[in-house]
Symmetry: C5
Subunit: 354 residues, 5 copies
């Protein structure tokens, strides 16, 4: 199960701006990939060491530096120094327990997102922190592990599809955010399918297992909500931001991705409502079944216990029990037993228990 909270105890007491990695180490070695492009030309390479990125800072073309793995704090520190990033920004990049947020500095905007992956085997959602630095002509993205979510964007840049090569670094940042939000929809579809499965199960054959799944889904909704809710504010602020780093023409795209975020939040709230309703259904179906069990027990006991008493009475060993001597005694008692049984059944019919 995903951890409820990141361990950050070893950070306590350190001065602010100290760069200590908080979170799981998800890859062995950090990987640095550079894509440099403008409308006319395109260049892509994997950097062997962090210094290879530095010349791109002052080139007029758009540069996208993607770093997979934030546990190698020396790399983060070097990039921070060269690109003039604030120590608190570097601290937030390596501390993977951030909420999505947006902070503007004079020369760059710092954005934190949560990327979500659905683990098909464990049937749970994994989160990964993605940090973006948007400068005037570059975007630096930091991921915890190697992911393929941004591949379509790489492909679009390579093949010059869409308008991405014609736009600036802000459009690239938008495209990355948009891709992350699009990915949320995939997660929601998976969860939606599971909820619909559970809903059918609830009607046909609810088991304690069903309850457990509802609980897990609820838990995942809580975590999902925590990742997506603040993103709304982030994008809304980006859209309204008056900064030379974000061009007016990108505004409409940000409004579009804002709409998508609202749709995601809407869906999460709908799912939460559904799951609450399903818990109620589950509980009342248990009550219903208990009721049914009780009825069976009551019917059996109510019919047979009086008959057993009758049989018991004529099993007594009194010397003077005139009925016992009579030839009609046995059939009459049998008849009485039968009648009592029938009367009981009729009574239960009337009470709608049968």
């Amino acid at each position: 199960m995903p951890k409820l909270i990141q361990k950050r105890s070893r950070k306590i007491g350190l001065p602010p701006g100290t760069i200590v990695h908080v979170g799981e180490k998800k890859v062995n070695k950090a990987k640095i990939a550079i894509i440099d492009y403008d409308e006319a030309h395109f260049q892509e390479k994997e950097a062997k060491n962090v210094e290879e990125c530095f010349p791109f800072k002052d080139k007029p073309t758009i540069t996208w530096i993607n770093i997979d793995g934030v546990h190698q704090v020396d790399i983060i520190e070097k990039i921070g120094k060269h690109f003039d990033l604030h120590p608190l920004v570097l601290e937030d990049i390596v501390n993977t327990g951030q909420r999505p947020k947006m902070e503007d500095f004079v020369d760059y905007i710092f954005i934190v997102l949560k990327m979500l992956y659905y683990d098909e085997k464990k049937k749970e959602i994994n989160t990964e922190q993605v940090s973006l630095i948007l400068g005037s002509n570059f975007v630096i993205s930091f991921q915890e592990s190697e992911g393929d979510v941004f591949d379509p964007i790489r492909e679009r840049i390579r093949s010059d599809r869409g308008r991405i090569r014609k736009m600036g670094a802000d459009y690239l940042a938008y495209a990355l955010i948009d891709e992350a939000v699009d990915n949320y929809f995939m997660i929601l579809e998976k969860l939606g399918e599971r909820i619909e499965d559970i809903e059918d199960e609830l009607v046909t054959n609810p088991t304690p297992e069903t309850l457990h799944t509802i609980h897990n889904l609820k838990r995942e909704m809580i975590l999902l909500r925590k990742s997506v809710w603040p993103l709304r504010e982030v994008i809304s602020r980006l859209e309204r931001w008056e900064s030379s780093l974000i061009q007016k023409s990108t505004g409409i795209y940000l409004r579009d991705v804002y709409d998508h975020t609202i749709q995601v939040i809407d869906a999460i709230e709908t799912f939460r409502d559904m799951l609450s309703g399903m818990l109620d259904i589950y509980l009342s179906s248990i009550s219903n079944r208990m009721n049914e069990v009780m009825k069976v027990l009551t019917i059996i006991a109510t019919i047979f216990i009086p008959l057993t008493l009758i049989a018991g009475i004529y099993g007594m060993n009194f010397k003077y029990m005139p009925e016992l001597e009579q030839p009609w005694g046995y059939p009459v008692v049998f008849f009485i037993m039968f009648s009592v049984g029938i009367i009981m059944v009729i009574y239960f019919r009337k009470k709608k228990w049968l």
Copy 2:
């Protein structure tokens, strides 16, 4: 049951503005209907191909182009190109998972609504996305399927009833929204009837089926709310919008449809409250019945088990049981049994169980 969320996985990774239909295909072939009118004249025709609409763009008369079926993306694209619509708008038109929203561009306003249909057979609500493009002298409406909800407006234009022929394109857009909202009232009436039926059933004869219906109604309320709630904001923004596309005289009509939307939202909230209350009633009526069943069982067991013991005692085969030899043994035991039974009944009367 209506899907909780639209599948849009195949859209992931495509550049923004790519026009891919998301949602069910509800009609075979898209149908294009054109109505062109002003105070003096009126023309209505069904367009065989999309190009027939184009000349109407620059005519001074009011033109209403209605397209049933948004899965034929080529049509949408051609219209988009001719009427200068933003690619993101076209994307939203064909992606039927939008929330109701309003977006203004310089030359047109883009509005997304949800039309609701009540399927009498399946007893559920179907949603359909309706997109409106409001230009200075035209309205383009996109529906997922052929619907007859807008027929009264067509009729009003044809027969020049009301003020519709005297007003501009903004009034036409208002009339379409108003019709959709009026339609919500019909849905609410149907749901209100079902809720009142269920309420009676709850008192007279609650079954697990009742619970199921409550759950389904709750689910439908969630979906309904999702469709109507954002519309409030849309209409409120339209009303307050300062744009040459919306004339001052239309403002009061928008305020009226805004009031109706609030009434719909009010009714939805009332229904939700009612349904929650009904769930409580259902649960406690189950508990009540279980209680009653338990009482019957307890009364039977408590009366007969002690009597059975007495019968059992005199059924023992001890050689020296003086009572067995006595002629009064049998009647005395009978009398004791009878007395114990009576005492028990009196006890239960006192406890108000009988």
Copy 3:
């Protein structure tokens, strides 16, 4: 039970501003009563036809026209034409499913209220829509049926009590609203009494009937809230309104009635909280009683079933059962039974079940 929602299906498809009565017809023939007054003189009459009201429009004295019965749309239409009312206003007057609201036009203010009546027999609240048109020197009030709630105001005008004859039409409108809100307090008192009765019943002798009453009261709270909540906004807007129709001196009276509305809302919320708490109490008292029933059953079964086994054992017909032959067999078994019973009782005492 009051309807959850007004049927307005026959309105669908009609152009906005079409005046069709929606709601129950509560009186046979509409009644028009005119009161005309200023500080010096006073005139009261019942109009035989609607045209009799018209001359009062331009008289400098304050005129109050009260119409009981809004189903006669021709009367409403005539008044609308003469007093220059907007078609949408007329539509709202005859459509009795409105929420309380306030709309200002240049020459008049349109106010919709809900009047509440407590039906002592059916023990339920009936709502009635009251619409007010406040002009510079007249107030037109529309009621669904003949009510006597406004009688004290008539009496005050007739006998020149209070300051009503010295003030303008806005004060008259205030007085009508104040009377309606005062009437809410009476409803609240009735409901408060019923809630307190139920609360006692809950402690002394809860029955399924109690649950039903709680449910009905909850339902009535929902409807009550729906009628009162928007009124707060209406009065608050009236108070802050900068219009020549409302004089400054009336502001303090509006603030007073605003305070009363808040008190009513407060009381409704308190009642809702109380009713929720009572439902919890009811449910747990059912559980408690079930628990008690179960204990009785368990005590009886646990004491007598083992004893029955002992009796059964000595009722077996084995040839070689040495105990059966002994003269002390019977008393010893009796003693054992007695001891087992006592031990059980002690055990239950220790467990605090007895």
Copy 4:
């Protein structure tokens, strides 16, 4: 139990500003106490009739007139006339169902508070309405009954402790409000103790009585909240008020009492959360006990019923039952019974029921 709502039916229909006492009559005769002071001198007296207060209106010294008992409307009316109070203010003073509120007039500020008393015997909270009129050099306070809550302030004025004699009438009004809020803390302590008692009881020995107490405490929280919540707004408005009646130096004191009010509200919310949690605990402890009862019953029945069957079988009177003739029959059956019992016990151990 305190009434949920004040009866004010006899007020309905009277013109606004009519002074009719609404609420219980808590003292026989109203008592008027006057304290007049400035830095240099001090005078205290009990007024025999209301006219004795009048000369103090125009004296430059600070005057505090305290009236215990608001049912004598003639006194209120005379004061109202002499001090130029608005009729609606007088109406609110004698109508004890007000919410806390603050209203400013040109010459004075009108403040309504709720004073709370804890009745140790009935273990419930009583509310009393306290109205304050703050003029430029006087404060008039109206209480429903004689209370000793304001005694410390009297004492402080008499003995010139603190800064009260050096400050104006606004500081006196602040001191009265502060005293009332301080009194709330005492109520909260009492309630906090009761909640902690109940919490212990819930763990050691929950009874239906416990539930009843939780319900009563919840009810009292609702009433408490109703009294305190609006006070926050009142004090906040007083603090921000730009009026010559409130000096800047008093602002910081008002901020302090505002903080206290927030602390009270915080505590109330905490208590409400606690009580909700306790209700859950109570309900689940009932379920737990029912479960335990059921287990005992099931264990007894499951062990003894099969044994009884075995005994019953060998109690049958068939002629040809070979086992019955055997000398080992009885011990073998005994052994079988014993084994069945042991197996059952082992089974229940495994199921963790024993």
Copy 5:
């Protein structure tokens, strides 16, 4: 268990600004520690009496005066007099029931925080009030007891690590707040671990003890929330504050600690949601188990009671019972019993009870 509310009854009736300690006395003697530093030099000493602090007020270097123990009101009063603190500030420092808050005066800012400690033995959170006075060149901190939470800051100042020696008093105040917030994360980790333990327990083996722990955790969440929630507002106000006491360069650090506070609040809300979900799971797992118990009981009773009746019938002592005489009687009855048992088992299989 931590007290729900601080006893402050003995304060009631005292004039505002009276300095009376409210809360537990946690240390014997107050300890005063002084640290004085600037970029160039550093001095640290423990003051034997309060007067030793006074000369530092006017030195241009940054001075941090830390007082452990607020029950010695004479020390607080002397400091208050020398540093010109408002009496209400001093009152708040010694009254440990404050909410976190921030108050600005002309020469200093007064901040109240809550420090949280996790008591490993009692498994509960203890709160301590920390008050800060931020002047232009000094910070005075008041703690209830000697704590080591601020030790890392002392160490950083001593060894000139980070930027603390280069920055002003506002940065020192920030560092103290940051340390307190960092400490909250440690508390959250502890609670998170306990919640995850309980979650496992809930699945494997829920006991009434589990319920108790959930309840205690919920209670602690309520107290935690009460301590952290207002801090958000405090830091946000500090950040936005336009005062010469807070330099622009500190703003970004305050924004960082603000982010951390939001993360803490987020985690608390997540935990609360989790705990609510766990309570539901607990309750339904009890219901589930009750259901299972009921089924066992019903199966046993339903199989054996009819068989017991059969045995009882042939135990009757009628003279004329032909079956009894037959040699096949006993085996046939045995066979019938066996068949009835089998049929019952098949029936329960079909009902999925076995």
